[in-house]
Amino acid sequence: MTQHSQGRQPSNDPSPASTGDAGATQPKSQSPPPAFAGRVAVSAGRRAFERIVESGMFLAAVSSVVLTVGIVAMLLWESIGFFREVSLGEFLTGTRWAPTFEPSSYGILPLLCGTLLTSAVGLTVAGLVGTTLAVWLSEYASYRVRETLKPILELLAAVPTVVYGYFALLFVTPLLQLVMPNLPGSTALSAGLVIGIMIVPYVASLTEDALRAVPNSLREASFAMGATRFHTAWRVVLPAAFSGVTSAFVLAVSRALGETMIVAIAAGMQPRLTFNPLEPAQTITAFIVQITGGDLPRGSTPYRAIFAAGLMLLMLTLVFNILGHWLRKKYREAY
């Protein structure tokens, strides 16, 4: 019975369809050429539009490249001027950074130290809290909790960094001083902690996306072996999402290294060659802010030092980006 009806349908269907087609086309136009010409006219207009759109997009793409090249060129140009007056060796190995004092000294190491120190504290916080939060959101939380919490978390990323800076200076530091009474009023520690809080949303959100992208079949495989939720998350899902998690961390590193307001406000503008987070510190970005706010003449050596320091920062971020790219490529999984 079923075979009969199936057999009939194909043989019946085409005939009404074809007669319908014939009936529809005949009254419209007897000969095909006009319809054909019309189509060409439409496509010519569309082609012009397409070309405009395409060149517009190409311009947008080019402008981003031009801007990047321009920024690097400007940094290099001013830095070359700087390195005519201060040797590269002194810049890279000097342990005292004092551009505005007499005798002036341009050793970048203290600034580098401060930058790495606050970033390390921040990344530790963001890594621990952000990853834990992401694992919880992705593997434990119910759909409703996740969909409520994630937007709130992303809102945290919208808080201006100035606010974070004063939060570090007026809340976190006093809090730390309750535990450690000898703590100075501004430290790398409190700035780093608040940098961490600031980048938690980035790390958590991106890591959660990466974990979600791990196919459910892998979770089921792990659970079917008798694994717990924790074991599955830790041993299967997180490693499988490694390349995505790396992306999250690369972004976090860039944010931490480049963070300016928090460190300018809360870390204390004192360049010191130390890896002790309980001391005040100055980062590369904080130095740039300090000099920019002052009234140094354009073209003077301390003014040019801004660009050399900026170049240093760019190199630093570049290194971490390349490292992240390499890790991502090495551990990329295709499912």
Binding site: E220, A221, F223, A224, M225, G226, A227, H231, Y335
Partner: protein
């Protein structure tokens, strides 16, 4: 290869090409005995009565698991309706039926996979021999159930780790950490999955780089490494080519000498080739459970016959 060349519908009422027949015959005395007593034992509700008579017990293989009055719900939707089904020890039981009939749902009850998702509810019992624990009882820890009941999935799903780490996953979970113990266990499992010769020189390479059939055998080895009492196969060959399919089927026949296997399959030739018992399900209900030869040659129910002859489904 066989299943690809002959369409499912052509099997009709004169089924079971000679090979499965022979394979079934090689099983010790099962064919004749179950064939003869099947009618009496299985007609009512399609399974032997709870205790069964003494003669029944001596003629049928020992029972590994018993599904009793099983109802399963996804939210308010009842996916399984009053399922009663024995699973015999060291035999292969095939679950067949059209898409959406609940065969995978039933399979996933055995290792409590439904517990991973919200709004799933079991009623009834799945008793696992020898001690008769209820796998779906609220007092049963799903993890404890999964430690005894392994599973192989439809799509090969090896972890993105090395072959060694894939197979060692289960033993590690059970607390094995000594390298030599793990190596021995991995070798045993890979040999069991007929994969040792192909992979012994590259145990450290990523399992995702293997072919589909090899990946599925890694998954089988992974399940074997925990020495499960029952292994569930959820359409294990539907993503594989005919040659890989044949290897997996041969492997299942080998494995059933040591463990109990339940397999869901869309491929009726596979069910007839591989299994000793076949359960036909339709719309969440168990229509018929009988020895495979009986289901394919002389089914009790008209519905079963219609399905296996390709009239619907």
């Amino acid at each position: 290869m066989v299943n690809a060349s002959t369409p499912a519908g052509s099997e009709s009422s004169r089924p079971a090409p000679s090979t499965p027949q022979q394979r079934l015959d090689t099983l010790p005395s099962m064919q004749q005995r179950t064939g003869s007593n099947a009618r009496g034992g299985h007609d009512s509700g399609g399974l032997p009565k709870g205790e069964g008579s003494a003669s029944d017990a001596s003629q049928l293989p020992a029972r590994k698991a018993l599904v009793q009055d099983l109802n399963f719900f996804y939210g308010s939707f009842q996916a399984l309706k009053n399922i009663n089904l024995p699973v015999y020890d060291k035999r292969i039981t095939a679950l067949i039926g059209p898409s959406g009939c609940g065969k995978s749902t039933l399979l996933r009850c055995f290792n409590r996979m439904h517990d991973l998702y919200r709004d799933s509810r079991y009623e009834g019992r799945i008793l696992l021999s020898p001690e008769g624990v209820n796998l779906i009882g609220p007092e049963m820890d799903p993890i404890a159930a999964r430690l005894r009941v392994g599973m192989v999935f439809q799509k090969p799903n090896p972890f993105p780790k090395s072959i060694f780490e894939n197979v060692a996953y289960g033993p590690r979970l059970r607390g094995m950490s000594k390298k030599s113990d793990l190596e021995a266990e991995v070798e045993k499992a890979l040999r069991g999955a007929a994969l040792w010769e192909e992979t012994k020189d590259r145990l450290q390479s990523n399992a995702m780089k293997l072919s589909g059939g090899q990946q599925q055998r890694v998954c089988i080895a992974r399940a074997l490494a925990t020495t499960p009492e029952v292994v569930l196969f959820d359409e294990p060959t539907s993503a594989l080519d005919p040659i890989a399919t044949q290897r997996i089927e041969e492997l299942m026949r080998e494995l059933c000498e040591r463990m109990t296997i339940v397999v869901v399959t869309h491929n009726m030739h596979q069910a007839s080739r591989v299994s000793h018992f076949t359960a036909f399900m339709y719309l969440g209900e168990l229509v018929e459970f009988n020895p495979t030869s009986k289901v394919f040659q002389n089914p009790d129910k008209k519905l079963t016959e219609d399905y296996i002859t390709g009239r619907f489904g």
